[in-house]
């Protein structure tokens, strides 16, 4: 009992969702970004450059406000930042990014419940869009990471583009709530619609060419920690952090007290493990002094540590890091490479052992 919505009715739907702040992709100077919207996503929207994690976990977020004098000499008082009470609607998430949100959900509620994230996440309803148009593209490899271009994990609704309308599937009560708030903006879906939607989904699956067999990567990593492999891999790396800042699953942040005009804020801002100062201790010691240590960390974190700790993999296959890396470092190549390298090492070790014997 699915529904449909005509594209020209979406604006109407949004106008009816008066207690929601609605976010969706918009194109700005050629780049797709999530912004407040009043209508449907523009045609041809690709993966946003910055993933929608920024809605629940903004790049800079105030955790607390306080009063201090200009140089921070004197602390006067603190207060909680004002919290919005309104609901949030994400109208147009990509399945990979939405799936990544479930990863962040695990992460931010694992040993400590992060109130800032959880608050927003709880207020949010997420509508995923099946990948159509230019998507999936040559960078995508979500199936290899257990996802799918029509995946529903983490979504409250899934909309599939049928041309003039979307095929609408409500997946959770939050999704149902949208349906009822939308009222006659939605129409009932027919059999034909369901069939068409199925075709669209299958076609999306078809278009994904990139494959990555992550089987064995974790095992390979286990034995490559001090391998010169990382020197080679990281040689061209700039340490800019594009790969991590744009990754929908990356979640590191840095907390700072910022005082301006006599008003203080305790803020957290996304951080990147690729920056040298990321792991710099106050003492001046840096346990990850080189590019190779930092590249290595990225791989270990995504394919080993997180898996070990939470049983999930830190990549959903969106391809952003590959597309945007200035020096062409390709996470699949690097990960696959670990396997070949580990293999070679094992053989080498075997040969040595033989030689010794």
């Amino acid at each position: 009992m699915a529904n449909t919505i005509r594209k020209d009715r979406i604006a109407q739907l949004v106008s009816r969702l008066t207690d929601y702040d609605v976010y969706g992709p918009v194109e700005e100077d050629g780049v797709f970004l999530y912004r407040r919207v009043t209508g449907p996503p523009p045609p041809g929207f690709t993966n946003s450059r910055v993933p929608p994690k920024s809605i629940f976990f903004p790049q800079t977020e105030t955790m607390m406000e306080f009063e201090k004098d200009g140089t921070g000499h004197r602390f006067v008082g603190a207060r909680e930042p004002e919290r919005a009470a309104r609901k949030i609607l994400l109208l147009g998430g990509r399945p990979c990014d939405v799936r990544a949100a479930t990863f962040l959900d695990r992460l931010f509620t694992w040993d400590y419940i992060d109130p800032y994230y959880v608050d927003k996440r709880e207020r949010a309803t997420v509508i995923s869009f099946t990948c159509t148009g230019p998507m999936p593209n040559e960078q995508c490899f979500c199936p290899s990471m257990d996802g799918s271009p029509s995946g529903t994990e983490g979504a409250d609704m899934l909309w599939t583009d049928l041309g003039d309308s979307y095929y609408v599937e409500a997946l959770t009560p939050k999704g149902e709530a949208i349906l009822s708030a939308g009222g006659d903006a939605f129409g009932k879906a027919g059999k034909k619609d369901a069939g068409a939607a199925k075709e669209v989904k299958a076609a999306a699956d078809e278009r994904i060419t990139r494959r990555f067999d992550r089987e064995g990567v974790a095992a390979a990593l286990e034995c490559l920690f001090d391998d010169p492999y990382w020197d080679t891999v990281s040689e061209p790396c700039l340490g800019c952090g594009i790969c991590t800042l744009l990754c929908p699953t990356c979640h590191c942040f840095d907390i700072n007290d910022v005082v301006r005009k006599g008003e203080g804020r305790r803020e957290r801002t996304w951080d990147t493990c690729q920056a040298a100062y990321y792991s710099l201790h106050a003492s001046g010691h840096n346990p990850r002094p080189g590019k190779k240590h930092r590249q290595r960390n990225r791989l270990y974190h995504k394919f080993l540590y997180i898996d070990r700790n939470l049983g999930i993999v830190g990549c959903v296959g969106c391809g952003r890091c590959i597309a945007n890396c200035p020096v062409n470092i390709d996470i699949i190549e690097v990960a696959e490479g670990t396997k070949t390298c580990a293999e070679a090492r094992r053989e080498g070790a075997g040969a040595d052992a033989k030689g010794a014997a």
Binding site: R49, C240, I242, E267, P326, N328
Partner: protein, 309 residues
Amino acid sequence: MPDASAKEAQVRDIARRWLASGEVRYVIGYAAGRGNVARAAFVRRAGDADRLIWNPTCVNNLTLFLREEMLRKLAKGEKPDPRPIGIVVKPCDSKTVVELVKEHIVDPARVRVIGLTCEGVCDPKKLVGTEVGPHAVTADTIADKCTVCRLHNPLMADEVVGDEVPETVEDDYSDVAEIEAMSPEERWAYWERQLSRCVRCYGCREVCPLCYCAECVFDREKPYRWNERTVQLPENLWYHAVRAMHLAGRCIDCGECERVCPMDIPIRKLNRYLEKKAKERYGVEAGRSAEDAPTFGSCDVDDPEEFIW
């Protein structure tokens, strides 16, 4: 392109020769990359010289790796290796070498340059969505920087690959003029929109061959943090304005910063504006000659000062 492959062969030959004779430690050159942009290759053995390529995907400026090597601190126990580093440069990149020599970062004795003549390379962003492969440089694919490039033959090259190309266009800075023609409100609206988008990944800084400070002001914590980590307009504006000032009269317009920017921010338009102004006002041009005085380390009694009271 036959010409490109002939040049490619020549590059390989030279690299092979240099490596075989041991006169260079290694050669920094281009190798095939994934997608439409070449990769940096660090070729250490003559036998690996065939990894080197030369085609229109070689848009990136490899001198970044040269200055990285020059500024690298020796590891514990590492002996300084006096042998020079070989590097493959396009004419635009060769300006960086000049600028780096001028700024005492590169010791000319420690570098051997393979300089390619060049009439333009492709902008990978213009190739997105197209088939991966050696693309032709056409009006649709040419990198923006190449359309205003005034230098088709390398400076300071030990070996030049390719026949001399006649120098063509005079840069009219029409991209900059477009913004100058706007009203102040429009200019602000333009830059506000562009800079609000910046995620301060610092990719533009990291890729810039001339951003080589041992500790960049934006990373400075002690004794004072110049700019907060906050990623919002005030901080982004500060970052871009300060960086533009740091590059004023030094930026050689290799376009790397703009190329790598994941948020498609037109950083060149900032840098090129100051490039234009520095040229207009002080007659200085980055990367012209290592003997030139640095823009901000020099001054002239007759420098214009029309805005000063």
